[in-house]
């Protein structure tokens, strides 16, 4: 099941229509760009994430999750996507994933050294005693995500990261089943969430911000099964 879905994500749009130019898509996607920035950057509202350069499969999954009600934490996203087809959502995902633009400087860490140390340790090594895998085990050791469907964790504001983990814990955000991030978010304590998000948002994005090419390139299988992710 998971595999079938992944195959669907990887296929190019089956629409008979010719692919539109970047400019023509930009004109059509003003509704996305006005919040996610002209080139996919965030605007002054911290909660609106940059979507430029995120893996296309991840963006497509999120568009589907909003349209089909698995992500309930933004009524306007759900409203906007209601009358859009799968084929168009794939093209929208591809449009934003192909944008290459510089990342802003990281947040200045406001957390204590101890909190940041805990965050770094959870992100890079996890906590074997609590059977918590490291974030890096799935999102890649450079934390820039893995093609096609696992997002990078850097270049995102603290408020956005903690809002997403909070939404998963509260049942407001879901992925396709099995919802691995839902499980992970629920296994974290509020202190863990604070530490992980504080550390992640204070890290610079490496010069090569591209996602790792594939899960095989991670060197080890994913520690969890995740819906919508080819494994």
């Amino acid at each position: 099941m998971v595999f079938t879905f992944a195959a669907a994500v990887l296929t190019t749009p089956s629409s008979a229509e010719p692919v539109l130019s970047h400019e023509a898509m930009t004109e059509r996607l003003q509704a996305c760009i006005s919040c996610h920035g002209k080139e996919g950057r965030t605007i002054n509202q911290e909660y609106l994430p940059r979507i430029a350069g995120k893996p296309a499969g991840y963006l497509f999954n999120q568009l589907m999750n909003f349209r089909d009600g698995r992500r309930k934490n933004n009524a306007v996203m759900t409203h906007l996507l209601q009358p859009l087809s799968d084929a168009y959502l794939r093209e929208i995902a591809a449009y934003f994933s192909e944008l290459e633009i510089p990342y802003p400087s990281p947040d200045v860490a406001k957390a204590s050294t101890e909190t940041l140390k805990l965050g770094e340790s959870l992100v890079l090594r996890g906590d074997p005693a609590r059977k918590l895998p490291a974030c890096a085990a799935c999102h890649g050791s450079p934390l820039t995500g893995v093609a096609p469907a696992i997002p990078g964790l850097l270049g995102l504001p603290t408020a956005y990261l903690s809002a997403q983990l909070g939404a998963w814990r509260a049942g407001q955000r879901h992925a396709q089943s099995p919802d691995c991030m839902g499980e992970m978010a629920k296994a974290l304590s509020p202190q863990d969430v604070g530490a992980v998000t504080a550390w992640l948002s204070s890290q610079p994005v490496p010069s090569n911000s591209k996602p790792t090419a594939s899960i095989a390139a991670l060197g080890a299988p994913l520690p969890l099964r995740c819906g919508g992710v080819p494994q």
């Binding site: 629409s15 229509e17 539109l20 898509m25 004109e27 059509r28 996607l29 003003q30 509704a31 996305c32 760009i33 006005s34 919040c35 509202q45 349209r67 089909d68 009600g69 698995r70 009524a75 306007v76 759900t78 409203h79 906007l80 996507l81 209601q82 009358p83 859009l84 087809s85 084929a87 168009y88 093209e91």
Partner: protein
């Protein structure tokens, strides 16, 4: 005197008794024998026609929950009286319609009564579906039981407020406002027009949103298709009979059909709830049926009710609104409100901008919206949301500016209007 009083008392008792009997009989309908629906004979042609008709009726719009299994129910229908949840229409025998017969299905569509005799709430639009022929309901039923995957998803209890949750209240409502009635063709009109009339009034149930209702949610004679607020008051289904709203009396039939098929036309795009209707339903209709529906819609008697009379503005320009327009709107809609071909609609002379009821204008500014993705317009343009960028006062100002510029002459929106139309605002704030 005493005799008169006694007589009156007796009469009252009799009337109450008679009403009780009528209500009791209405509530306690007979059950129709259970059968194994999946064994009922049908043909591939019938199943295919049923699938098509189910699209025209947009059954899935309610009976498939957002992101849920096809036809397994659970979609919420918000009404002013509470929420009604659409039921499981899959051929599951315990919770779906797997033990219904074609007769039970026809009775549900025609009379609004379930297989076990229970009354159904008219959120299931049986006052419209009542017009559907037995041949067509049989086809829809054969599609549901032979093509849809059985899913054992339990039905969700309705959450209606007292007294609407009472079956006797529902029975009284039906006695007052509902009479099962088959479609009546008009022999003075063409076959095409009659086909359109049958679909628009029946399966497509356009009047479920576009007709004014009374305080008990029942249609009012003489107000068919004259426009009504949607149940959450966040959108307005414009009048189909008023040229200042959504009447298509002046549109060529081809143009109306294209709008229902593609969700867009030279006169603008379908947005808001209508975008979903085009996306889920009308884009799948055949050219012949779209032409028929257009023929009928074009023929609706043109009315103009008092509420839609605009009082011309005094000619003062809303300067704050003008500044917002320049910053936020002009890059797409143009300095002169002329828009850009099919991409960005003109606001000068735009009926959504000018309508007396500004709900849709407010909702569009707040929430934005895409036109539906259809075969004829697979990559629609979208209007951005501004809920996070503009205050209520900003929205009143910019709406007032566009309503009074470039020859537009609709009344300004005030702070008071923003309170009046707050439901449009509260759905996102």
């Amino acid at each position: 005197m005493r005799r008169v009083l006694l007589g009156l008392f007796g009469l009252t008792v009799l009337v109450i008794a008679a009403l009780t009997v009528i209500l009791f009989r209405e509530v306690n309908g007979s059950a129709i024998a259970a059968v194994d629906a999946t064994k009922i004979a049908s043909t591939p042609e019938q199943i295919e026609r049923g699938e098509y008709l189910a699209r025209i009726g947009n059954c899935a719009g309610c009976h498939t929950a957002r992101g849920g299994e096809a036809y397994a129910g659970g979609g919420a229908v918000d009404t002013p009286f509470g929420t009604v949840y659409a039921t499981n229409l899959t051929p599951d025998a315990s919770v779906g319609i797997g033990n219904w017969s074609t007769e039970s299905f026809y009775r549900a569509m025609h009379e609004g009564r379930s297989q076990d005799g229970r009354l159904l709430y008219p959120a299931f639009p049986y006052p419209h579906f009542s017009l559907t022929t037995r041949d067509d309901t049989d086809a829809i039923f054969s599609f549901l039981v032979h093509r849809v995957k059985p899913v054992s998803q339990r039905n969700t209890e309705h959450t209606l407020a007292f007294p609407y949750n009472n079956r006797y209240a529902l029975a009284a409502w039906r006695i007052l406002y509902f009479k099962p009635s088959p479609f009546q063709a008009d022999s003075a009109r063409s076959a095409q027009w009659n086909r359109g009339s049958y679909l628009v009034q029946g399966l497509a149930h356009c009047g479920a949103c576009h007709s004014t209702r009374n305080a008990l949610g029942a249609p009012i004679a003489g107000h068919t298709y004259d426009g009504a607020m949607m149940p959450l008051n966040d959108w307005y289904a414009p009048s189909l009979t008023d040229k200042r709203e959504a009447s298509v009396a002046d549109w060529p039939i081809e143009h109306i059909a294209r709008w229902l098929k593609d969700g867009t036309s030279p006169s603008g795009a379908a947005l808001g709830p209508m975008a979903e209707i085009v996306f889920q339903s009308t884009q799948y209709a055949t050219h012949a049926d779209l032409t028929a529906m257009s023929d009928y819609l074009k023929s609706l008697t043109v009315t103009s009710n008092d509420r839609a009379t605009p009082t011309p503005t005094t000619g003062t320009i809303n300067e704050a609104g003008k500044r917002i327009y320049k910053d936020r709107c002009a890059s797409c809609h143009g300095d002169e409100g002329k828009g850009k071909s099919d991409a960005f609609p003109a606001l000068a002379g735009n009926r959504t901008v000018l309508m007396a009821n500004p709900t849709n204008l407010i909702s569009l500014i707040l929430k934005g919206g895409f036109a539906p993705a259809t075969a004829g317009n697979p990559r629609p343009h979208g209007m951005p949301p501004f809920y996070h960028l503009l205050t209520d006062t900003d929205i009143a100002n910019v709406a007032s500016f566009v309503r009074s510029s470039w020859g537009n002459a609709a009344p300004a929106l005030t702070e008071l209007d923003m309170v009046k139309y707050r439901n449009a605002l509260e759905t996102v704030r």
